[in-house]
Structures are given as C-alpha cells and as structure tokens.
C-alpha cells in the first residue's frame, strides 16, 4: 500500500498545482487574420482584467484554416478570429471550429450575425454601401446596389476587384435574395458601367470618386470613415443603399473556438467577453466598425451617417453561396 500512496499523493498535489496555475496565469492562443492594431487592444484589455495572457499569430484566413487542419488535435490554437462570414463559413465547413452553447453569446450577438449552429459569432459589423461624389451626384439619384447596373451610370461606376471577399459576400447575399439569374444581370450591368478597371482596394475606389474619375462606388464604411477623418474636405459622401428594399449589406469580423482548443472553457469566457459591453465599446472606437451588441453606440462619425436598415439574411448564406458568386462574377467578366 505504501508504495502506492506516495505517488498518488504526489499526483494529486501536481494536479492541484496545475489547476492553481490555470486559475492564476491562464493562457490563450489565437490565430487571427485581423490587423494587430485592430485586435491587440482587446487582448491587452482582457489580460489586464483577468491576468490571462494571449498569444497570437496573424496570417491570411486560408493559410490559418489549413494550419488548423494540418495540426489537428495537436493545435495550440484556442480561437480563430477573422473577417468576413465567407471565411468563417469556410472554417466551419472544414470542420476546424467547435459548436459553442452559450446563452451570453446568443443574447449578445443578433441571430443573422452568427452561425445557426453556434460555431462562430460576429463581433463587429462591417457595412458595405454606396459612396458618391456630391459635386456630380445628388443623393436623390441613388437608391440601391441593383440600380448601379442601370445604363444611366454608364462610365460613372468604380468598383474594387471581384477577388476581394467583401464583393464576393455582397454578390452571394444578392444571389440569396434575387436568385442567380437576376444577380448575373446586375453584375453584368455593373461591368458595363465601369469607368475604369477594378481597383485592388476600397481606398483607391473612394479616392477615384473624389478625384472625379467616376461618380459612385461600393465600399466598406470604415475605409470611408478613415479617409474622411484624414481629409475632411474629401469630395465624397456616404449613402445607405437599399433602404427601401433588402437593407444595407452587412458582414462581420468574428470568431470561433477551435475544435481541439486546449483551453476551451477559458476560450469561451474570452469569446463571451468579446461580445460584451466592454469589448464592444472598445471595438466601436478602434476602426469605425459597428458593434454587434444592441445598445452599444458606434463612434461619432459613423453615428453621424444616421440609422440604417441592415440586410438580415443570415451570413452563413453568404459563405455557402460564395463559390457560386465567384463563378458568377467570372462569367459576367467582373475582374
């Protein structure tokens, strides 16, 4: 008996020490495709509050998903944080995210901004809408994304490349609403109206509108806000698209817990904190994105654009239809 007792006592002590260690100096590992400056402040705030240290590595979404797949049950990663529902949907369909049951997350994140099965949750809203040059366009002339395919905009439209996932998600939700045939008509109309080859960034598209190379474009609002903050005289204004119909296309930056997360409980606490008041307020003031949690105010500049109606199609649809959207844009000649 004696020889057994000592080792088991030792094991119990070690276990207790181990538990003690997780309680005081827990650690989380995050794979993130978000810019460091947009996400690290939230990590720092959480570390300051709880003592949990957060290590993270940033890369492109596709590479991170492949990394999670290759690492399998040996992965050090607890959370995947990325932008765009298309990427989150892809992570889900590759089976690298775990299903989370959390009343806090369900309460904080509106239904259309999270996975119906609870494998990812939106943390900030990114609205994609119309920006126009007020010297050449009156807001009354604008209405919807679909209207920009009308020949009256011939030679007046600027777009970012179809290779960017933001446009792929926009077109995917259009397919969900209008069907593939109607959507292809619209995209073909856009291509016919282009003033110049598609740009590689939203910033370039806005600057082209302001410089008079074209009159209208479709961009994410935070790019517009950042440019407008730098140069308040920029000759460009924002218009909320589709207010009379489907609502503005919104997408998210979001997060999910990995299937083989080594610190699952702690990861869930962190994810819940990210969806709560403190982190949401922080996010709202970092990059002019909109908080997902109701009742948290956006930053002053986005607030000044007034309230807007969001498209409430579930973002998982955008992911599901993304490949179809890419093929559709290829067929329509949208580069």
């Amino acid at each position: 008996m004696h020889p057994f007792r000592t080792p088991s006592a030792l094991a119990a002590t070690l276990l207790a020490l181990g538990l003690l260690q997780t309680a005081t100096a827990a650690e989380l590992v995050v794979y993130s495709s978000r810019n460091e400056q947009l996400i690290k402040p939230a990590f720092d705030a959480y570390t300051a509050k709880t003592g949990t240290t957060i290590r993270f590595v940033s890369d492109k979404e596709g590479a991170l998903i492949e990394r999670l797949k290759a690492e399998g049950d040996k992965t050090p990663a607890d959370l995947l944080i990325t932008v765009d529902a298309g990427n989150l949907w892809q992570a889900t369909s590759e089976g690298v995210l775990a299903k989370i049951d959390s009343p806090a997350l369900t309460a904080n994140v509106p239904a259309h901004l999270r996975d119906p099965d609870g494998r990812w949750y939106g943390l900030t809203i990114r609205a994609r809408t119309i920006v126009y040059n007020p010297q050449t366009v009156k807001p009354a002339q604008l209405s919807s994304y679909e209207d920009l395919a009308d020949p009256k905009w011939k030679g007046k439209l600027c777009l970012r490349t179809s290779k960017k996932v933001y446009n792929q998600s926009l077109v995917a939700t259009m397919i969900a609403r209008l069907g593939a045939e109607k959507t292809e008509q619209v995209v073909k109309g856009w291509v016919a109206n282009l003033a110049t080859d598609p740009f590689s960034s939203d910033n370039q598209a806005i600057e082209a509108v302001a410089a008079g190379q074209c009159d209208v474009t479709i961009v994410n609002t935070y790019y517009f806000a950042n440019l407008k903050t730098k140069n308040p005289a920029l000759s460009a204004e924002l218009f909320w698209a589709n207010q009379g119909s489907s609502g503005v296309h919104v997408n998210v930056s979001g997060a999910g817990i990995t299937r083989h997360a080594p610190h699952r409980a702690e990861a869930q606490r962190f994810l819940e904190w990210l969806s709560g008041d403190e982190a949401q307020t922080l996010f709202a003031n970092l990059n002019f994105e909109f908080p997902t949690k109701a009742g948290i105010a956006a930053a002053a500049l986005p607030l000044s654009w007034g309230p807007f109606k969001q498209d409430d199609v579930n973002l998982a649809e955008a992911g599901r239809l993304q490949a179809e959207a890419v093929k559709l844009m290829d067929r329509a000649g949208y580069r």
Binding site: V29, S33, N35, E36, Q37, R55, F56, V57, S58, D59, K60, E61, G62, A63, E66, R67, A70, E71, G72, K74, P76, Q90, S93, T161, K163, V165, Q168, T196, D197, P198, F199, S200, S201, D202, N203, Q204, E207, A208, A210, A211, G212, Q213, Y223, Q322, A323, V326, K327, D330, R331, R335
Partner: protein, 551 residues
Amino acid sequence: MNALALPAPAGADAASSHGRRWTLLAVALAVPVALPLLVIAGGWLQHDPATWAHLLDTVLAELLLNTAFLLLSVGTAVTVLGAGLAWLSAACEFPGRRHFDWLLMLPLALPAYVLAFVAIDLLDFAGPVQSTLRAWFGPGRWLPPIRSRGGIVLVMSLALYPYVYLLARSAFLAQGARALEAARSLGCGPWRAFLRAAVPVARPAIIAGTTLALMETLADFGTVAVFNFDTFTTAIYKTWFGLFSLPAATQLASLLLLSVVLALGAERALRGRARYAAAGRAQGGERIVLRGVRGWLASGLCSGVLALGFVLPLSRLLYWALERGLADLDARYLERLLNTLGLGALAALLTVGAALLLALAVRRQPSLTVRLAVRLATLGYALPGSVLAVGLMITLTWVDRRLGELGDWLGLPLDAVLRGSVWALLIAYGVRFTAAAWGPVDAACERVRPSLIEAARGLGVHGSGLLRRVYLPLLRPGLLAAALLVLVDVVKEMPATLLLRPFGFDTLAIRIYEMTAEGDWAGAALPALTLVLAGLLPVILLVCRSAASPH
C-alpha cells in the same frame, strides 16, 4: 573523368564510394524540396471537375495569355536592361560611371510589391501627379493609365533587372579584356565585339539572372494583386480562397511547376554542351570611352532607371512615413529589424552552402541521379509563395507529429520541434531560395577552368584542400553575390514567413503585410522603408567587397 579511367580495382572502389557520397549528399539536399512538391502534386488525388470546367469555360485562356505576355515582356526587358547596364558599368567609361556601378544594384532591396503600390499611388488618376496636372491644365487624363499592361511590365522590370545586372556585371568584370581585344583586333567594332565576344562568354550568368527574374515573375502574387492583373498565380489564389478548392489550386500550381521544368529543360537543351571558361583575369583599364553626347546618354539612362526604380519610390515612402509620424517606431521595430536580418543572414549561409555542395556534386559525380537532384532542389523558386508555404507547412507538421510520437515513446518533450522554432522558417527559405543561390554559384563554378583543378590535383591538392585553396578563392565573388541575393530575398519574403514563424516572432515583411492587408499603404511605408534600408546593408557590403580589386 580521369578517375573513371583509372584501371586499378582499388582506385575504382575508392572512386565509386566517393561518388556515392556525392550522390547521397545531393539527394539529401533535394529531399526537403521534393516533399512539399509531392504534397502539392498530391492535389491530383482529389477530383474537382466542376472547378476545372468553370476555369476552362471562363478565365483560363485569358490567364495563360496574360502570363505568357508578362513572361515575354519582363524577360526581354530585364535581359536588355540588366545586361546593357552591366556592360555600360563594367566595360565602358562615361560621366558618373563609378557611382552608377554600385547605385544600380540598390533597386534590388526594394520589393516589387512595394514598388507597385507606390507607382499606382503616385501615377493613377487620383494620385498626386495627375491631380497636379489637372490643377494646372484642366480636367482630363494627362498620363497613360498606370494600371495597365505597360504599367505592370514597367514596375516588374524595374524591380527585377538587378538580378541580371548583378550576375552579368560580375561576369563582364571577370572575363577580362582579352577576349574583347582579340575580337577587336580581328576588326570588330566595339558593339560588335560586345555582341560577338563578351555576351557569349557572359551568357551563363545572363541566363541565370533572367531565369531568376522570370521565376520570380511567375511566382509573384503581391505585384499582380495590386495591379489587379490576372495571371496563373491569381487563379491559384482565387481557386483556393474564392472557390474553396485547395485541390484544384494545387493542381494548377503543379501545372505551373511542370511548365517551369519544361522551360528550364528547353533552355539547357538550347545552351547545348557549350562551356565557356574565361581566359583572363579581372581587366585593367581598357574601357570603351563614351565621349560627348554618347557619354551623357549613358549617364541619362542610368539616372533614369535609378530615379524610377529607387529614388522616387523611396522618397514617396519617406514622405508617407514622416506624414504618418514616427509614433509607430517603438522598441519592437529594432526587434523586427534584428529578426529580419538575423534570419536573412542564417538563411543565406545555409542556402549558399547547400547550393555550393550541389554545384560541386554535379561536377564531381555528374550521374543522372545527381543531376535530377539538383534540378529538383532548384525548383522551389517558381512556385507562388503561399502554395509552397502550405506544402511545406503540411510536410513539417507531419514530421513534427511523428517526432512528437517518438518523443512520447522515449519520454522526451519533442512536441512542435520544427514548427515552434525558426528551423521551419530556415528550411522554407532554403527550399524557396536555393535556386536564387544556384544561379550565381553555378555560373561561378562554370568559370573554374577544369585545367586549373587538374593542375592542383597534380600538385597533390585533394578533397577539402581543393575546396579551400582552389575553389573558394575563385568562387568568392559568385558566393558573395549568391549570399546577397538570398539575404535580400529572405528579407522581402512574406507568405512562408507568415505561415511558419513561431509565435510572437515578427519581421518587417509581416508588418508590411498587416498594413497593406487593409489597403493602408501609407501605414506600410515605415516598415517598407526599414526593410529597404535593411536590404541595403548587404548590398553595400557587396559593393565594398567588389570594389576591392580581386587578386
């Protein structure tokens, strides 16, 4: 050759065990490259006919035409520009030549993707140049569009010509004036002598440089993405990220690889068995003096290339960095800089060592196995960085898991040995950049006269003594050029660094990625500027070494 002729059985035994060692070495060096390539080729095991049908129906023909156009135009431009400028600075005399000689190497430190976004920012419709022209002369377009075929060829040629310049310059310098004098004494004019005598001797070096530039063009994603120019590489990325088909993406990538293998094979077949060994030493003072207008034209050409490829873009980066303020410049910048340079130096050492061993192996034991191993080891450069990085990541993760199991069995903590350390990165750089080192190392070995080696052997110098006392002194300029190329390439490398670095290990290229990922070009200016300066250190080192006259 003479070893094979030895009749004594003992000698044959020694020779064959010697040969086995070289074979084993070459194969061992090729394996780390072969594994990720196999992983990529493994994409063919999964069928995705729907994606292929879509690509064939819509974009594939245009992509192939675009890629061919880019290879042809950039290939021609970098060869003419690189070899021409190298000839001017190595064999002619004109105002400012001594400064242009090293200044023209500087654009090597500027990554093509940085040059691309600076060019578009400056010259596009909404950019400062055209805005100013509109303010002066009224509305309208005042310049041909930069986001065009011509624009992308201009940017890539300016970014990639230094590869040819660097290699051709040392070849022109090393071949000496004798061949040229001989040609001229036979009645050739200076330019005819250049084309008939100098270029053929420097051809291996010029081809090596052009091959590097072309492989870089094929693998490029950053530049074509900024230009939104659709090539084979953008199709690979779109298939992966947009159509979510990594198998189809790797199938496309292996086709790309196959075309590189065929092209390299064709080049070798064209080159045939011709071997040129330089007969002279570094030349003395017999330069072709360009007088009057011709001299100033030469200066003007050099200044133009330098201004467009280096001075203007660097000024724009500096302007952005100052405008943004130096708030970003914290202690982590020093860490990033040191990480970048340390990685570059280590990788350069390892990669050039590997390339030298391969070059010696193929000369000492030119069997089919060794030659195949060498071909394989120098393929990594042409693959788009992210695709190669994923192939490597899957391979290294697999090795790590096996090591982990071994560790469990032995009771040793062997988890994530490769992936948790910079070893993974160093292996990745080796796989990717052996080709960059191979060009100059091979071209330099080509210049070692076989008769010299035989003479040394006759004097009883063998094995490592041969390496230390004969090869290394002769090869030093080539080895230095190779190390510089690898170092600068590693400093600029992005996709493999992103995917394979340990936690919290950041480099300057990663900082640039983080900024440009959201289209914040001005924010990327400070890390880009630091990266250029970091890349300049080795360039300047090389300049100093090559200025000291070789003995």
